[in-house]
Symmetry: C2
Subunit: 292 residues, 2 copies
């Protein structure tokens, strides 16, 4: 096969939710906007809705016939893009599985294991190489440099430089800047999660990313913002992998974030720097502890 129609399936599932809340669907371009896909895909979805007797479709009239049932949805594993599948599969291997530094990475083997073509694996590895965990020997294999202590130290060194600089930009933002509103929303979420920490501590990971990304964005520097991708992916998989004391660690980090947010609000560069430093220091410790 040439291409998995994951865009179609994912948009189809999301469109079912739109359908559930109305009695007739909007125009094709509008649906395309809402779902973030082209009209071609929208029309494919509408065609399938018609087949499934979810709607009648005659030009501009798209009348909802019935509510979608669970079995109308495509299974979740069919809506992941190939890139996501490869990434997950690869990260599991190198983070969880005993992958030692210096190990060779074989494109063909990886492709067979994941059940995909070599081209996709190759492209993934090229994209992934910017994270500094693998390295290519031209005309030959890739080498796994490994999620080592050095890696974590080098990563956090740059992270600290970038985030301190970003925090300094943040405090200088005018009050009218939308970042302050987003910061308020994030703060509220922090308080909500802290209030019910035992049940909701798992939501921290996502919130952490949202908060730090907001800070990095105020640097207005594409290299600083792009670098946050590396931090995000490392922490993302790190959270999934290392669950010891997760509740306690997350609670502490949430408190630190709140202090950091307050410091940003003060518009005082010194306070912001201090709060930022304090949080980054403990984030680094947490990361280092998870490495043998």
């Amino acid at each position: 096969m040439a291409k998995q129609n994951t865009v179609f399936k994912d948009a189809y599932n999301r469109c079912l939710k739109v359908l559930a809340e109305t009695s007739s669907l909007p125009s094709e371009p509008e649906l395309g906007q809402v779902l973030g896909v082209s009209r071609t895909t929208v029309r494919a979805i509408l065609g399938r809705f018609e087949e499934a007797k979810l709607i009648t479709w005659d030009k501009r009239k798209k009348i909802v016939l019935r509510q979608p049932q669970p079995e109308d949805y495509f299974p979740a594993e069919e809506t992941d893009s190939l890139a996501e599948i490869i990434e997950r599969s690869f990260m599991r291997r190198i983070l969880a599985g005993g992958a030692e530094p210096g190990m060779q990475i074989n494109e063909l083997e990886l492709a067979r294991e994941i059940g995909t073509g070599t081209t996709s694996v190759r492209e993934f590895l090229i994209r992934f190489s910017r994270f500094g965990l693998i390295e290519k020997r031209p005309n030959s294999h890739w080498i796994l440099k490994g999620f080592t202590r050095e890696f974590a130290l080098e990563l956090t060194e740059v992270r600290e430089m970038f985030e301190l600089r970003s925090a300094a930009s943040f405090v200088a933002l005018p009050d009218s800047h939308p970042a302050w509103q987003e910061l308020s929303k994030i703060e509220t979420l922090h308080r909500e999660i802290l209030a019910d920490i035992d049940n909701r501590y798992k939501e921290f990971s996502e919130l952490d990313e949202r908060f730090h990304l907001l800070v990095h964005k105020s640097s207005s520097n594409r290299f600083i913002i792009d670098f946050y991708d590396i931090i995000a992916i490392v922490f993302h998989y790190h959270y999934q992998w290392n669950k010891t004391n997760a509740r306690q660690r997350n609670a502490r980090a949430l408190e630190e974030h709140l202090a950091y947010i307050e410091a940003l609000r003060s518009h005082d560069p010194k306070r912001a720097e201090e709060a930022c430093r304090r949080h980054l220091r403990s984030a680094r410790e947490t990361l280092l502890q998870s490495i043998p």
Copy 2:
């Protein structure tokens, strides 16, 4: 065709130079070491040498019959790897040609223009995207962000952070560290070029890269070192493109480098920082002046 044998051709040309200086060639593994290729390629070269009556080859005996002539070499354009060809071709388009920010980049068109398959172009674009000059819209085209003033400012902002940090590491290196020797060599070259600046100012570009890379390397941080790739490629093409006042600019930069080198030698962090800042400031000005 599947693969251009550029590795073979390039190694063949280099091997001709080895051949010119001896009466019998060393063992296959040793040649492989010297040329940086596998034995398979070495054997292919030896086979071709035999056909061209450059040597006789019988097992361990590889006796040189005649000196290589200019026509024994493969033409230079056949020894460039596809990746190099694509890079050059692409950089010419976006730096020299009137490529406006926001322009769409079409993989197929690019491939046709360069005379190559789409896969190679795709892989190049993915690798290239980390330089922050292009951006991908999934399932759709790439967008050229352009070599703009903002780009240059963002690039130099990070460069300054990284190089200041690296320079601080450099002054702290123990005297026994090999970097000091390399620094001496670089200094000597600076003086040589300055002494004959009118004829040799074009050698600055390469030396500049060598010097700054040495400084960055002392950070021992892969992210800082990798980032230097971006600076290097930008300045590399920038030097090729913008030749106004090249002699004068290079002379000034050479002087700044010498002051910078002396400051590093002093082991005094303050002096090094100051010299580094001074040079980076003027490098930034030079870069900015070349942008409309």
